[in-house]
């Protein structure tokens, strides 16, 4: 029982991280119907920047308060970096393709992902790099039982406020309203005076910002980064987004948590090496029986 609970806890923290990445996929898909293949690699670049900053400022030797402050700063900096990069890529690569056939932006995204990977290869080198352990692995819970370390706390401390902020942004601000409008019907949104391109750019920024935050947490939580980490993690996150219903923000969160739980439980009970197969098998089954995902609205193919 205890073992099971421990695995669930690991699953939830992992899942929160996956959800943060999944949000980036789901927001971009929701607004321009593009599977942003480069998102995982964008996060890899965020992790590169985080590692460089940590090494440059010698953060590994600070006190407790200084460390948490530093982490907060890292989250903001990497978030801005990834968000900005995402906007630039949208402006240069995807915007000219707005009216192109659907395949064109998808293939371009694959191309961008390759370019990012190459940048990461130069930044990190071909082998995996270890990310310094800034946070102690001491148990925060009393007693011998469950393990809940500062790292796990970090994930929740960063992810939960970000998600709350995001849902506030989308639900209650003018810009959020504009985002929802564009996602429903770009042409109609443009007709009522919404600057569609700006809203799309903003969406890319927000998705990228969340990805940047995720990259810092990833480094601190997993402690190993490499130039190929984007693909695998991006795939899991994308699966989470589809599972929850792509385009739906709460769906991405739920999907992320489910994927996190499935991963940790299957690693614990079936074996680590089957995890990938199980996750994707679930994805296929979900898509076959409930293609709109857990929380997504059914969309009718337009004629």
């Amino acid at each position: 029982m205890q073992f099971f609970l421990q695995q669930c806890l690991i699953g939830i923290t992992n899942g929160a991280l996956v959800a943060l990445v999944a949000l980036g996929y789901t927001m971009v898909y929701g607004i321009i119907r593009l599977i942003n293949f480069a998102h995982g690699d964008l996060i890899m670049l965020g992790a590169c920047l985080a590692l460089s900053l940590v090494s440059a400022f010698g953060m590994a030797g600070g006190g407790m308060a200084a460390t948490w402050l530093g982490v907060a700063l890292l989250v903001v900096l990497c978030g801005l970096f990834c968000g900005g990069l995402n906007v630039v890529v949208d402006r240069i690569v995807y915007r000219p393709l707005r009216n192109a056939p659907k395949l064109a932006p998808l293939v371009s995204a694959i191309g961008v992902s390759f370019i990012f990977m190459n940048v990461g290869l130069f930044w990190l080198g071909p082998s995996d790099r270890s990310f310094p352990e800034l946070l102690p692995a001491t148990n925060l819970l009393a007693g011998e039982g469950l393990q809940f370390t500062a790292k796990d706390l970090l994930v929740l401390v960063v992810v939960v406020p970000l998600m709350l902020a995001l849902s506030l942004l989308v639900k209650s601000t003018r810009l959020g309203k504009a985002m929802r409008a564009v996602s429903q019907d770009p042409a109609a949104a443009a007709l009522v005076g919404i600057d569609v391109d700006r809203v799309i750019a903003f969406t890319f920024f927000v998705g990228g910002f969340l990805g940047g935050a995720a990259s810092v947490i990833y480094g601190l939580y997993i402690n190993t980064i490499g130039f190929q980490m984007g693909f695998q993690n991006g795939l899991y996150a994308f699966t989470a987004a589809v599972l929850g219903g792509i385009g739906s923000i709460p769906g991405a969160v739920v999907g992320g948590l489910v994927i996190g739980l499935v991963r940790s439980l299957s690693s614990a009970y079936v074996g680590e090496r089957w995890t990938g197969a199980i996750v994707f098998a679930i994805l296929i089954v979900i898509l076959v029986f409930r293609p709109e995902g857990l929380l997504g609205r059914g969309t009718k193919e337009k004629v």
């Binding site: 898909y29 119907r33 599977i35 690569v93 000219p96 393709l97 009216n99 192109a100 056939p101 659907k102 395949l103 064109a104 932006p105 998808l106 293939v107 371009s108 694959i110 191309g111 961008v112 992902s113 390759f114 370019i115 990012f116 990977m117 190459n118 940048v119 290869l121 130069f122 080198g125 071909p126 693909f231 795939l235 994308f238 699966t239 589809v242 792509i246 090496r273 089957w274 990938g276 197969a277 994707f280 098998a281 994805l283 296929i284 898509l287 076959v288 293609p291 969309t299 193919e301 004629v303």
Partner: protein, 370 residues
């Protein structure tokens, strides 16, 4: 842009020889290429060595890409897991032929069985998933690719895990025709596999051409263009898509058989991962969706870039001593991914129909915008 070729006439009114030759090459590029490739091993001694093996692999990728082209090009279904079917073909073929299994079939029998079985697996995946919208179908194929890769790696008792299955016997092992021990010949001289792959490729090209203009091929294109309109004309979209799925899988399986036979091993499961799928997809898109010459050119460019140009440029850089410190920034292959990615982005931006477009797609993409 018109593809018209204006022949110039000299003073006597005759078409100069050079122009006539050019016109012939333009018209019958396939025959010319076939003859050149068929004669090459007799003239170029290097093809009897490692280069022969590389070119054989190139032919095999061409077959694989033509298979993918059925789904992505003709039918317009994005498929991100073609390497899985390539792998299934290779592994089935290996299981049917390697000494550790009791089957030990002949080359042709084993190939036929594994091609059919691969098509069956394609049908089994396609049947429940084909009603999904385009993007979701892409993800299902991607997920399937990962599942297959993980399964091949983990079912060690059956697939040999990371070691793969070997030795896959060469075609005609133990068979003697006209005083030549066929198996031995295949094992020693790569030119035998070169010809086998070339002949298979030519066969696939001919079959694809016939298919393109057949009732089924036209139905594929109709479903791609407008599924609703096609169904209104009495085409069963599901059946047409399923047949495309099966055909793609079958051709990919065929490529897998040749691959396993020519390497005499299935290689490790990572040879059939997402990167391979994407590379083949890129080749098809780069060359021109739905265009047979485009697909072949795309594969030649991408594979040629990887196996010929990149090593050559690297050694050139080393020779001229441009890069004494050995920095990866100054090695050509260090930029491989970026060049790949940039090519994809630029092609999508400026020439989305590909380098050698199919006529229909080019016309469609360059319609005047309202």
């Amino acid at each position: 842009m018109t593809g018209q070729h204006h022949t110039t006439r000299d003073a006597t009114g005759a078409v100069p020889l050079r122009d006539r030759v050019l016109a012939f090459v333009r018209e019958r590029w396939d025959l010319v290429a076939l003859v050149v490739l068929a004669v090459a091993p007799l003239v170029v001694p290097a093809l009897g060595g490692a280069l022969g093996g590389q070119v054989t692999t190139l032919f095999i990728y061409c077959i694989l890409a033509l298979g993918l082209n059925v789904m992505v090009g003709y039918t317009g279904l994005v498929h991100l897991g073609i390497a899985a079917f390539f792998g299934i073909g290779a592994y089935l073929f290996a299981i049917l032929t390697v000494p550790m299994y009791p089957f030990q079939m002949r080359f042709v029998t084993a190939a036929a069985v594994s091609v059919l079985a691969t098509a069956g697996i394609g049908l089994a995946l396609g049947a429940p998933t084909l009603r999904l919208r385009g993007d979701y179908l892409a993800i299902v194929t991607l997920g399937f690719g990962e599942v297959v890769k993980v399964t091949l790696r983990n079912l060690e008792q059956i697939t040999g895990g990371m070691k793969g299955l070997n030795p896959v016997p060469p075609p005609g092992a133990g068979l003697t025709v006209g005083g030549i021990n066929l198996g031995l010949a295949f094992a020693i001289d790569p030119r035998w596999f070169y010809y086998l792959a070339l002949v298979t490729l030519a066969g696939v090209v001919v079959a694809m051409r016939r298919l393109e203009h057949s009732r089924l091929g036209r139905a594929w294109v109709a479903v791609r263009e407008d599924e609703l309109a096609a169904s209104a004309m009495g085409i069963s979209a599901t059946r047409v898509k399923l047949s495309a799925f099966a055909m793609s899988s079958a051709v990919a399986g065929l490529a897998g058989c040749l691959y396993a036979a020519s390497l005499s091993t299935t290689a490790d499961p990572n040879a059939y991962d997402f990167n391979r799928s994407i590379m083949v997809l890129c080749a098809v898109i780069l060359g021109g969706l739905g265009s047979i010459p485009g697909t072949l050119l795309g594969v030649a460019l991408l594979v040629g870039f990887d196996t010929v140009l990149a090593p050559w440029a690297d050694s050139a850089i080393q020779q001229w001593n441009i890069n004494p410190s050995g920095s990866s920034l100054l090695s050509f292959s260090g930029w491989r991914l970026a060049i790949f990615g940039l090519a994809l982005v630029l092609v999508m931006r400026y020439r989305p129909e590909g380098l050698v477009p199919s006529r229909r797609l080019a016309a469609e993409l360059h319609e005047a915008h309202p």
